[in-house]
Amino acid sequence: MREAGRTFSIVLTFCIMFAFWMILTAWTVYLPEPYDIFKVSSRGVLAALIVTFLTYEIFVPNKGKNVLLKIRRFIPYVAWELWQIYLATIDVTKRVFGILPVDPRIIEFDTTLRSDFALVTFANSITLTPGTITIDVDPERGIYIVHAIAKEPADSLTVDQTMQKKVGHVFMEE
C-alpha cells in the first residue's frame, strides 16, 4: 500500500499491544463496577509502551504490493487448511491400527514461490497435510526436501500439485 514510516509503525504497534492487554486482563480490571477508567488503565498503557519501544521495528512489514487483496484471499485458504488437519489425524489413526501400511521415503521437488511469507506458509501447510513433513527449504531456488510416510501422500505433492496451485493463487505466484 505505502511505505510505513517510523511514526506509523510505533502507533500501530502500540494500538495492537494495548488491545491485547485489555483482552487478557478484562475480568479483574474492568468488570467490578465502580471504577475510574484512567487510573485503572494506566498499568496497561505503561506495559504496552515498554513492549512497543522494544519491538516496533520488526512488527509492521515495510514493503508489499497489494496487502489487502492477499488478506482477502487468505481466509478461504485457512478454511481449507482446517479441513486438511482433520483428514491428517484420521490418516494417522488408520496407520497406527494397521489398516494402511507404513513405507517411508524422502522426496525432493521445487516450486516457483520466492518471497519469505509464501515459503513459510507452504512449509507449514506441508507439515499439516496427511503424511508429509518438511525437512529443509532452500530460499534461493525454492527447493523443498520432504519426508513422506507412504506412496499416496508423496504422489499428491509431486504429481497432482494441488497445494502449489492454491498457495500460488493466494500470493499471485510470487
Binding site: 496407520r95 517411508p104 518438511t134 510416510i149
Partner: protein, 104 residues
C-alpha cells in the same frame, strides 16, 4: 441446557481419543521420523478439539476469547517445533528406515 452439554461432551471425548491414539503410535512406529509424524499431527488436533469443547460449554464471555487465543497459538506453534526437530535430526545423520529392516 441438555443439548449444549451433549455437544461439548462429544468434542471432549473425540479430542481425548485422538490424543491417546497419537501416543499409541509413538510406541508402535519403528523409526524416529515416523514417530514424529504421529505425535506432531495427532497431538495438535486433539488439543484443538478439547479446547473447542471447553469453549462450547462456557457460552460467550471473556473466558471464551482467552481459550481461543491459546488454541490459535498452539495451531501456529506445533508444526514449527516439529519441523525444527526433524531438520536437526536430518542434518546430524539419524538413519532412515526402509521397509524390511529391523526396528530401530
Amino acid at each position: 441446557m441438555l443439548a449444549i452439554e451433549v455437544i461439548s461432551t462429544v468434542f471432549l471425548a473425540a479430542g481425548a481419543f485422538f490424543m491417546i491414539t497419537g501416543t499409541a503410535g509413538l510406541l508402535k512406529f519403528p523409526d524416529f521420523y515416523t514417530r514424529l509424524h504421529a505425535t506432531g499431527k495427532a497431538d495438535t488436533l486433539g488439543q484443538i478439539l478439547i479446547i473447542v469443547g471447553c469453549m462450547i460449554y462456557e457460552g460467550f464471555s471473556f473466558i471464551t476469547i482467552k481459550l481461543l487465543l491459546v488454541s490459535a497459538f498452539y495451531l501456529l506453534v506445533g508444526p514449527t517445533g516439529t519441523h525444527a526437530l526433524i531438520r536437526a535430526a536430518y542434518v546430524t545423520g539419524v538413519p532412515v528406515w526402509k521397509k524390511g529392516d529391523n526396528r530401530m
